[in-house]
């Protein structure tokens, strides 16, 4: 994922593939060229941020002056097993069933 200034190409098609991997996605081959072009278009537009002097400016943590919210540590009823599994794509022995994780 090396940033390059050549032709204002901030990310190559290979970079896009790598970003997709990090995102647990794939970019279908038919979309890759246009996707990369539009991705670069957006990133190039972000260059305007370089014109702003943000020295000493704190990043926004919260838009309103609020602080941590605490509550008493009391056990409350949660969802039932039946509810939690209700929308699962596959269930086995009261658990979520998934394909093999380790070969």
């Amino acid at each position: 994922m090396t940033a390059t200034a050549a032709n204002n190409l901030k990310v190559s098609q290979d970079d896009v593939e790598h970003i997709a991997q990090l995102s647990r996605l794939t970019v279908p081959a038919s979309e890759r060229e246009k996707f990369t072009e539009q991705f670069n278009q957006i990133l190039n537009y972000a260059d305007i941020l370089e014109h702003i002097d943000t020295t000493g400016i704190q990043p926004t943590a919260h838009v309103l002056p609020v602080s941590n919210v605490f509550r008493e540590d009391i056990v409350k009823p949660g969802s039932t097993l039946e509810e939690v599994l209700a929308n699962a794509p596959a269930v086995h022995n009261d658990g979520f069933k998934v394909p093999r994780v380790i070969e």
């Binding site: 994922m1 990310v11 970003i19 996605l25 972000a46 609020v66 394909p99 994780v101």
Partner: protein, 488 residues
């Protein structure tokens, strides 16, 4: 007048006076939906059986002489990213096409307590990512004012339902303009409340520091009534504010004498269409006549708001949407042979192009080596945008701007993503600064409604509502109906 044209408060009055029953009203809405949905496609899911049962319960209460809440028995529509227990909630995504929530969003719980009626769930841009309702997995919604046009988005289904007479009130959600912009394209009133005014619990998260739920309605009074019902602190949302909620209907006073209305020059520049500027100019004249003081304002960081948003919102989305792994709920690809492959395939097949683009954009701007240049920088610029507004509100009480720089445009316009993003410039800064904003109709151009936006100080929805109500009382724009391509 047809029952489906009533405002929520008019319907309430008729229910209380026993001129109509809630069942009659609800049936009338479903009849209207049946007639208009083939053209408009505002809804993803309808819930007629439950709606009619609820209507019968309210009718029984009225018959017993019980006092009913303002929205009791009044049928409304809910954006499909707001969790409704037992009723499919899809976010207009293949990923959640069969998702039936096991709990209610906080706002839904409040509305159920108020004995209101949910007609169904409305179409939206997939996961609220879009400004056109075209990214919906279920296909686009059509603008009732001209069926070839977009209704705006992402709450396009909710706004179109109001304009088409398919609901008396609706809920939307607004991350970068998703309530206000479709409200303006459909001639409706839409409010994005102050960040934290309304609990986000049960609103499927897109960008958690920006998302707010709010009303889309026929008039300002209805917007105040819905806001009354959904506002307030909720233990399930730590960012919901523990502050008193005023009765917003008390703000509905037709008086802006001495009110200082700021006009930020940056919102009236080259990017804003002539037809939009013309209607805003007329609105300013109306406010002057009503006794308001017009103040020129500058919000110098406005031009940076769009890209700042399109760094911050995707960054938050990339984290929020990581939960969709094909394991516990949602779409699962049947193509994969291992668990990691299953997650990647499920996400690739389950998410549409725009959602995948934003997840990847967010992943990139948060990734090692790029975090400082993009995400941190954007969060610093966000601080500067907040400061612009803090300065402005020393000189004025509300800001008046166009809601969108353009009127509604064609479905399938073939614009590139960045060009569509740029059109959010008028609404995005309000989310960035966490402020309340309302859109209401202020004129027409070529038969299409034009919306104006009023922005207020944090937690000062009341002043925004008063300014909006005063304008509405002095004009007739909210009394014009969409014709759905016919004469109706």
């Amino acid at each position: 007048m047809e029952l489906y044209r009533l405002t929520a408060h008019e319907a309430h009055d008729k229910l209380v006076k026993k001129e109509i029953s809630s069942q009659e009203l609800t049936e009338a809405l479903y009849k209207r939906i049946e007639e208009t949905e083939p053209k408009v496609k505002a809804y993803v899911t309808l819930d007629k059986e439950h709606a009619l049962a609820q209507a019968a319960a309210v009718d029984a209460a009225i018959a017993q002489g019980k006092e009913i809440a303002p929205l009791a028995g009044v049928p409304g529509a809910i954006k499909d990213n707001i969790s409704t227990k037992g009723l499919r909630t899809t976010c207009s995504s293949k990923m959640l096409a069969n998702m039936v929530p096991i709990y209610d969003a906080h706002v839904i719980k409040k509305l159920r307590e108020a004995e209101t009626i949910f007609l169904g769930k409305t179409n939206m841009d997939e996961f609220a990512m879009g400004s056109t309702t075209e990214t919906s997995f279920f296909g686009p919604t059509h603008n009732p004012w001209n069926l070839e046009l977009i209704p705006g988005g992402s709450s396009g289904g909710s706004a179109a339902a109001i304009a088409a007479g398919e609901a008396l009130w609706a809920l939307g959600s607004d991350t970068g303009g998703s309530i206000r912009q479709p409200a303006s394209f459909n001639g409706c009133v839409g409010i994005k409340p102050t960040y934290g005014r309304v609990s986000r619990y049960g609103c499927v998260a897109f960008a958690s520091s920006l998302d707010q739920i709010g009303p889309i309605t026929r008039d300002v009074t209805d917007a105040a009534l819905v806001l009354n019902c959904i506002s307030g602190k909720d233990a399930m949302d730590a960012t919901s504010l523990d502050v008193p909620v005023p009765d917003f209907t008390k703000a509905l006073v037709a008086d802006v004498k001495g009110l200082r209305i700021g006009l930020p020059a940056e919102f009236y520049g080259e990017g804003t269409a002539r037809v939009v500027k013309d209607e805003l100019d007329k609105a300013v004249e109306i406010y002057k006549k009503l006794g308001a003081e017009i103040v020129p304002i500058s919000l110098p960081h406005t031009k940076y708001a769009v890209i700042t948003y399109y760094i911050i919102a995707p960054a938050e989305a990339s984290a929020n949407l990581a939960r969709f792994d094909g394991v516990r709920y949602g779409y699962r690809s049947q193509q994969a042979t291992s668990a990691p492959e299953m997650t990647t395939q499920s996400r690739t097949e389950g998410f549409g192009l725009e959602v995948r683009r934003r997840i990847m954009l967010g992943t990139y701007v948060l990734s090692s080596g790029y975090y400082d240049a993009y995400y941190k920088k954007a969060m610093q610029v966000r601080t500067l945008i907040c400061q612009d507004y803090a300065e402005a509100f020393k000189k004025c009480d509300v800001l008046l701007t166009p809601t969108s720089p353009v009127p509604a445009y064609k479905i399938d316009s073939q614009m590139d993503p960045l060009s569509i993003y740029m059109l959010d410039v008028t609404t995005i800064p309000v989310n960035m600064a966490g402020l309340p904003g309302i859109s209401l109709p202020c004129g027409f151009a070529d038969g299409l409604p034009i919306g104006m936006q009023l922005i207020g100080r944090a937690l000062d929805e009341a002043t925004v509502l008063r300014a909006a109500y005063t304008f509405e009382q002095a004009t007739e724009f909210h009394k014009v109906y969409a014709k759905l391509g016919g004469k109706d």
